[in-house]
């Protein structure tokens, strides 16, 4: 049976801190869907979006809007309310993944380890005294920490801290992006990302991608400057560990209720145990993102895979 030609609207851009990343992801998605034979338009969502959806009536919407509104479930809720078929999880699941502390809690309850952490709204420092809170944090978690905004992506506002002196500034940097911060004990080992796909036949993990940033920190710069990071696909881990990580990624995907396409990030400790870091409901698909590498390593063309996801969404 010939592949039906769908009218697909890719949403990319928005007004979050990750606009640039989203625009890049959107272009890549559009290219793959065009290659698959669909009619594709890229739309930067703004006040005209829902009128446009009413008029254009696309068969499928592909939200590639990273950052707030795109990943916090707001846009997906509104697409649901408008009766639009889209590629992506339900809003409630996106919200769970977007909120890093909540995702960690749920994943831990599902039996997967995650670094010990403390979640602190900025108000906690004001209410309980910043010096006291910082002291309690370092007593509890030590000085080797990762400080990140509790919501957000692309490592924006993330700091690695190795001494108490650096902690106050790291807190300020995280709160500059969002009013709640996640303070995690730093996990050491092999950093990996696992892309999980569900084209309707159930979630499956694509080959595990190992990430080796040139300066040791997978920062914004390491993510989006080609050559700043070396990737190994599959990761340089034993078959047994690779299988365990893949399985853990699918468990996370299902635990959070993610769908279609997700990326789950782990550190593999020296015993081969996957330590969950975070889940991405709308993973980056830029030229330098790990998900396209995983897709390529799976032996399936991105156009074939995205075509399957779009066809599935059209029947939603």
């Amino acid at each position: 049976m010939p592949n039906p030609t769908l009218n697909i609207m890719v949403l990319a851009g928005g007004i979050s801190h990750e606009r640039e990343v989203s625009l890049r992801s959107g272009r890549r998605v559009a290219d793959a869907l065009l290659e698959a034979g669909h009619e594709v338009t890229i739309v930067d969502p703004d006040a005209r979006l829902f009128d446009l959806l009413m008029n254009e009536k696309p068969d499928v919407v592909w939200p590639a809007v990273h950052g707030a509104s795109g990943e916090d479930g707001a846009l997906l809720d509104l697409l649901d309310a408008s009766g639009v078929s889209y590629v992506g999880p339900h809003a409630a699941s996106a919200r769970l993944a977007w909120n890093k502390p909540v995702a960690k809690t749920l994943v831990q309850r599902a039996g997967i380890a995650t670094p010990e952490s403390i979640t602190l709204p900025r108000e906690a420092f004001r209410e309980l005294g910043a010096s006291t809170v910082l002291e309690v944090v370092t007593q509890g978690l030590g000085h080797d920490l990762v400080i990140k905004p509790a919501q957000g992506g692309s490592s924006q506002g993330v700091s690695l801290v190795s001494s108490a002196d650096a902690l106050p500034r790291a807190m300020v940097d995280a709160y500059t992006y969002y009013e709640v911060a996640l303070l995690e004990k730093r996990a050491y080992g092999t950093e990996v990302a696992v892309t999980v796909i569900d084209d309707g036949s159930g979630p499956r993990a694509l080959p595990v991608v190992e990430i080796v940033p040139s300066d040791g920190f997978y920062s914004f710069e390491a993510r989006y400057n080609a050559g700043e990071t070396t990737f190994f696909t599959p990761a340089r881990l034993s078959e047994m560990v690779l299988a365990a990580v893949s399985e853990a990624a699918v468990v996370v995907h299902e635990t959070l209720g993610l769908d279609y396409l997700s990326r789950i990030d782990f550190i593999i400790d020296e015993s081969g145990n996957p330590i969950f870091l975070e889940a991405n409901a709308l993973p980056g698909l830029t030229e330098t993102s790990s998900a396209p590498l995983a897709i390529e390593a799976s032996g399936t063309a991105a156009s074939t895979l995205f075509n399957a996801l779009a066809l599935r969404a059209a029947q939603r």
Binding site: I15, D44, R126, S154, P168, T176, F220, A226, R236, S238
Partner: protein
């Protein structure tokens, strides 16, 4: 864990990573620069970029010129041209420079692809890695980028409300000489400085020339804003006072439209010859079509009247910005420019304009952090605000949002006061301003 996957080999997404020239080391994406992507959205009030308000240019002035070019000179406009530029346009450029007291020969004018290209060519001609370029503190970020790309040693010289400080220039030269560093030229923007907004006073101009002449230092005078004065005309150009020691750069980007990408250099004869050869090597020739369009525009349109109209637009916006700063941010310091596009704002010492930018994006306002205008990472307690593009109403909205940003940042810093150093990591960004097409 020891049983590693045998088939896996590293993938580097840039196979040419080891091949790049040393001078490209600063050319990379950064977290701060990526934030400027939102500037193109209408919800965001951008006080960041320097895009002229070309909507103030009547359509018929431009379309008339374009029609005539295609009707009367189509084949010439679509063809390669002289590497030095269209002679008739160079004649007109002499007329424009005469407004600021400059006399010269049409043979010594070189038309370039924006004055930015002239800046690049001059730097290419003179700078070996490690050579000193003296620049104002702060200086135009596009010039700093070029000087960096030729691996110049960029030395900042203090400015005050009357522009470059002669005593500071003397001191900087002495320091360089003491350190055995060769100084190749002084780069200066004497009128309505970008980003400083100040103008070099008439009294100081001969002193700057005398100092440079005494030390055998060439002056590169960049004057894109000189005709955009709000009150009184600017003093005579440095080039008007010295035709041997000054290369003058001019541009149609601010007085007409940047889309044509036409600027020029007026250089001493020997330098001019090398400039033309360097320009031909770089781009063969500047756009014939753009040059002829501007030639037609200058011939037929009331271009002085149009500049007067631009002045009115920018004066109103300057007033709106100063008024909004007085209303919403009276605790900050700023200058009141008498022309050009920019206000240079001083922040309290505890605030860092670069570190604060994500908060500004959240509040839908953008500015350019002061660090963009220094080669040495300083400028963190300053920001450049542009009044050229947003409407007066939007300028007020933008400054009000900026007040919210500053209040939020101060509250946050206050929360952590006394817990340790709150000094931000200086980072490695070399380009922390919006790309030219965003505003």
């Amino acid at each position: 864990m020891n049983d590693r996957h045998p088939q896996s080999r590293g993938i580097n997404l840039d196979p040419w990573l080891g091949h790049y020239a040393d001078r490209t080391s600063g050319l990379s994406q950064s977290e701060v620069r990526a934030l400027f992507a939102v500037v193109s959205r209408p919800e965001v009030v951008s006080l960041a970029g320097g895009m002229p308000f070309v909507s103030a240019l009547p359509d018929e002035l431009v379309t008339g010129a374009l029609d005539r070019v295609m009707r009367d000179q189509g084949p010439t406009a679509l063809q390669y041209g002289s590497g030095q530029g269209v002679p008739a346009l160079r004649e007109q450029i002499l007329g424009i420079m005469a407004l600021e007291g400059i006399t010269g020969s049409v043979d010594d004018v070189v038309v370039t692809t924006g004055s930015q290209q002239a800046l690049d060519l001059v730097t290419k001609l003179f700078i070996n890695p490690g050579d000193v370029v003296l620049v104002e503190a702060p200086s135009y970020l596009g010039a700093i980028g070029i000087f960096r790309s030729y691996q110049a040693d960029i030395v900042h010289v203090m400015m005050d409300e009357d522009g470059l400080v002669p005593e500071a220039l003397e001191a900087a030269i002495a320091d360089c000489h003491a350190a055995g560093k060769p100084i190749k030229f002084l780069y200066t923007i004497p009128n309505f400085h970008n980003p400083g907004g100040v103008t070099l006073s008439a009294q100081r101009r001969p002193r700057i020339l005398e100092i440079c002449k005494r030390h055998n230092i060439l002056i590169l005078e960049d004057n894109p804003y000189g005709l955009l004065s709000f009150d009184e005309p600017v003093p005579p150009a440095l080039r008007a006072l010295d035709d041997e020691g000054v290369i003058y750069l001019g541009s149609f980007s601010k007085t007409f439209a940047p889309g044509f990408r036409v600027g020029w250099a007026l250089a001493p004869h020997a330098i001019r010859e090398k400039l033309v050869l360097a320009a031909e090597a770089a781009i063969l020739c500047p756009s014939s079509f753009s040059q002829l369009a501007i030639h037609e525009y200058l011939n037929e349109a009331d271009w002085m009247g149009q500049i007067e109209s631009y002045r009115g637009v920018y004066r109103e916006r300057r007033d709106a910005m100063i008024s909004a700063l007085n209303e919403h941010l009276p605790e900050l310091t700023w200058n009141v420019p008498n022309g050009g596009f920019y206000v240079w704002v001083g922040l309290p010492d505890e605030l860092d304009s670069k570190a604060m930018l994500p908060r500004a994006v959240t509040e839908l306002v953008a500015y350019t952090p002061g660090t963009a205008f220094f080669a040495d990472g300083t400028g963190q307690h300053n920001m450049r605000l542009s009044f050229c593009y947003p409407t007066p109403e939007n300028i007020n909205v933008g400054i009000r949002r900026l007040a919210t940003v500053i209040q939020g940042e101060r509250d946050l810093l206050e929360t952590f006061a006394g817990t340790g150093s709150l000094k931000p990591n200086p980072g490695t960004d070399s380009v922390i301003a919006p790309p030219p097409h965003l505003n």
